[in-house]
């Protein structure tokens, strides 16, 4: 019983980390269809933002909240810049976008290596996040509970923004039918940039949160990128709902398989399960039916 609860807690925690990393992708990849390989590097930008902010703000708690906001803005600005300079030209060639943004990611990694050095750096977690909470016999670190809370807040805010705000309505309209949205007077260019800003900003927020549970190195983004993409693929494009469910499903799956085998084997088994799952549902868990032909 204790083992089961421990596994559930690990799975929940892993799922929330996956969801945080994949949330931004569910916008840029899920909604816009752009395969942004530099998304992992935006996560890394968030990590280093937290590191830099901590050099100036002495209180770890204050610096965490400042980093979350600054990280969102920095990551978002970089994403918007990437959209304006490169991705805009390539909407008709999604696969080439993958390779171009991979190049961008390589450069960003090297920039980080040149500025901060290749060895990992550490961000000090606030005092009130040290230690763990006893949940039915399983001790869960407070940092992981913080990430779970953060991801719930992020998902709630994002869902609310998409649902009710005028900007969110514009984003959904452009995703569902670009031509019709343009005809109704929506600037699809500006909407694309906004969507990319939010998606990349969320990646950086994920990065800030990841500094709580591990150290930061220039390649940290890469280790999360593929898992994040798989989450969006399994969840299905176009809906946050699918991403949320897929993230926690993969989190639980991974923690249970890992408990019964090894960490490296778990990755492979999860991959095989995903391939089999795509046999049954090639479009993922949820899909948005639109009337546009693509």
């Amino acid at each position: 019983m204790d083992v089961l609860i421990g596994q559930l807690a690990t799975g929940l925690s892993l799922g929330s980390i996956l969801l945080l990393a994949a949330l931004g992708l569910s916008l840029t990849f899920g909604q816009m269809g752009v395969i942004n390989m530099a998304h992992g590097e935006f996560i890394m930008v968030g990590c280093y933002t937290a590191y830099v902010v901590q050099q100036f703000v002495s209180s770890a708690g204050m610096s965490l909240f400042i980093s979350l906001i600054v990280g969102f803005l920095v990551g978002g600005a970089m994403g918007a810049l990437l959209e304006v300079t490169l991705i805009r030209r390539m909407y008709s060639r999604p696969l080439d976008t993958l390779l171009v943004t991979f190049g961008v990611g390589l450069i960003l990694q090297q920039v980080a290596r040149d500025i901060f050095g290749a060895p990992a750096v550490n961000v000090v977690a606030p005092e009130w996040l040290s230690g763990g909470v006893d949940i039915l016999g399983a001790v869960v670190p407070k940092t992981r509970i913080f990430i779970l809370v953060l991801v719930i807040v992020c998902v709630a805010v994002l869902a609310a923004v998409l649902k009710v705000s005028p900007m969110g309505r514009r984003i959904r309209a452009v995703v569902q039918n670009r031509d019709l949205a343009e005809t109704s007077g929506i600037s699809s260019r500006r909407t694309d940039i906004t969507t990319f800003f939010i998606g990349s900003g969320l990646a950086a927020v994920a990065g800030v949160a990841l500094t709580l549970i591990g150290s930061t190195s220039p390649t940290i983004g890469q280790s999360y990128l593929i898992d994040a993409f798989l989450v969006v693929v399994v969840g299905g494009l176009g809906q946050i709902k699918g991403t949320v469910i897929a993230a926690f499903a993969l989190g639980f799956l991974n923690s249970f398989i890992e408990y019964n085998t090894t960490a490296s084997l778990a990755k492979v088994v999860v991959f095989v399960i995903i391939v089999i799952f795509l046999q049954v549902r090639p479009q993922g868990l949820f899909t948005v039916r639109t009337r546009s032909l693509v």
């Binding site: 696969l95 993958l98 390589l106 040149d114 593929i226 693929v233």
Partner: protein, 353 residues
């Protein structure tokens, strides 16, 4: 007349390549550089397969490191066992150091050279065919396919690092012999280079035949309009699986040659970064052409050995910029540039007369 000229040109090109690879290179280059060229040729063999699957078939194969690694590891296992047997040991040296006394069960069949050769050909082919059928029959394509093939590369690299019976993150290295020929002898290393060169020529010839055939036409048709091909009564999935499998086979053979030529095979050759790095040479050379990928792959590999050690930071920047500039702005690669120049020249000629 035109086709006759085209055929003549192809044979001439083949002749020039053969003379360069078999005649000029061994005379001009030192043994060390010849072996280096052999390594580049391995990358070129992978590139030919990528050119077929990606350039002609439109499948962005981001997991070629998987098949490259499979070929390399299968060959590496045989070489390690053979070395151990020569010295009268039961297990390869790295296992002895780890205190393993008995050969793991799955290693045993690789004592046989014939079994190893068969495995190098059949295992990647079977895996690629199964994966390809699984994905293409269900019409998993484009972005999903690219992401899954990346995930496969990542998964295998992680799996290999955890496998101490395959050398862990060090992989397999320090091979002493190659099917009975000691690798210390420069003559035998030259022989390895010749094998790689011969394989490259064969592989290019095979792809040329495929491209010229009805199958090649169908493959391009699937790339440009999969639905139309389906409506014509063909199954695009089968057409794609063949190209994917052939590309995987080439990568596996290249990996099997890479291991003895370079002297190691490790998880670092399998993961996402090396898998995607295979693509840049193909993109630069011109992904839809026959020889573009070969020249591009050799060029990039050559530049990498030239610069990456002295300027590691700058080389990474250059690699990133190459992806951005070539794929983003010159998707046809250098071959496309050539076509563009030719067209411009004929246009100006017409204007003059």
């Amino acid at each position: 007349m035109r086709s006759l000229l085209g055929r003549w040109q192809t044979w001439a090109g083949f002749g020039v390549a053969a003379v360069l690879l078999f005649g000029a290179a061994p005379v001009v280059l030192s043994d060390f550089r010849l072996s280096l060229l052999g390594k580049f040729l391995c990358f070129a063999i992978v590139a030919v397969g990528i050119g077929l699957a990606w350039g002609r078939g439109g499948m962005l194969v981001l997991g070629q490191g998987v098949f490259f690694g499979l070929g390399g590891y299968l060959m590496g296992m045989h070489l390690k066992i053979a070395d151990a047997q020569i010295f009268g040991n039961d297990v390869p040296d790295f296992m002895q150091i780890a205190g393993v006394r008995e050969l793991p069960g799955y290693w045993a069949p690789f004592a046989s050279p014939a079994f190893t050769m068969l495995a190098i050909v059949l295992l990647p082919t079977a895996i690629a065919a199964a994966l390809g059928l699984g994905m293409f029959k269900r019409r998993v394509k484009g972005a999903y396919f690219a992401i899954l093939s990346q995930a496969l590369a990542a998964a295998l690299a992680i799996l290999l690092v955890g496998q101490t019976s395959l050398g862990g993150s060090n992989g397999l290295n320090r091979f002493r012999t190659f099917f009975g020929f000691t690798l210390n002898d420069p003559a035998n290393r030259r022989m390895l280079y010749f094998i790689a060169a011969a394989v490259l020529l064969i592989v290019v010839a095979v792809v040329r035949q495929l491209m010229q055939s009805r199958y090649g036409e169908l493959l391009v048709a699937v790339r440009d309009g999969e639905e139309r091909v389906r409506f014509l009564g063909y199954d695009p999935a089968n057409i794609k699986v063949v190209a994917y499998t052939v590309a995987a086979l080439f990568a596996s053979i290249a990996g099997a040659l890479f291991a003895p030529i370079v002297g190691f095979i490790a998880p670092s050759q399998v993961g996402i970064l090396p898998s995607i790095a295979f693509l840049i040479g193909v993109a630069i050379g011109g992904r839809t052409t026959l020889l573009g990928p070969v020249l591009g792959a050799i060029g990039v590999a050559w530049a990498q050995t030239l610069f990456s050690e002295r300027f590691p930071s700058e080389w990474t920047y250059a690699q990133g910029l190459l992806f951005i500039v070539v794929v983003g702005f010159f998707p046809a690669g250098l071959a496309g540039l050539g076509v563009l120049l030719k067209r411009r020249r004929t246009a100006t000629n017409k204007g003059a007369t």
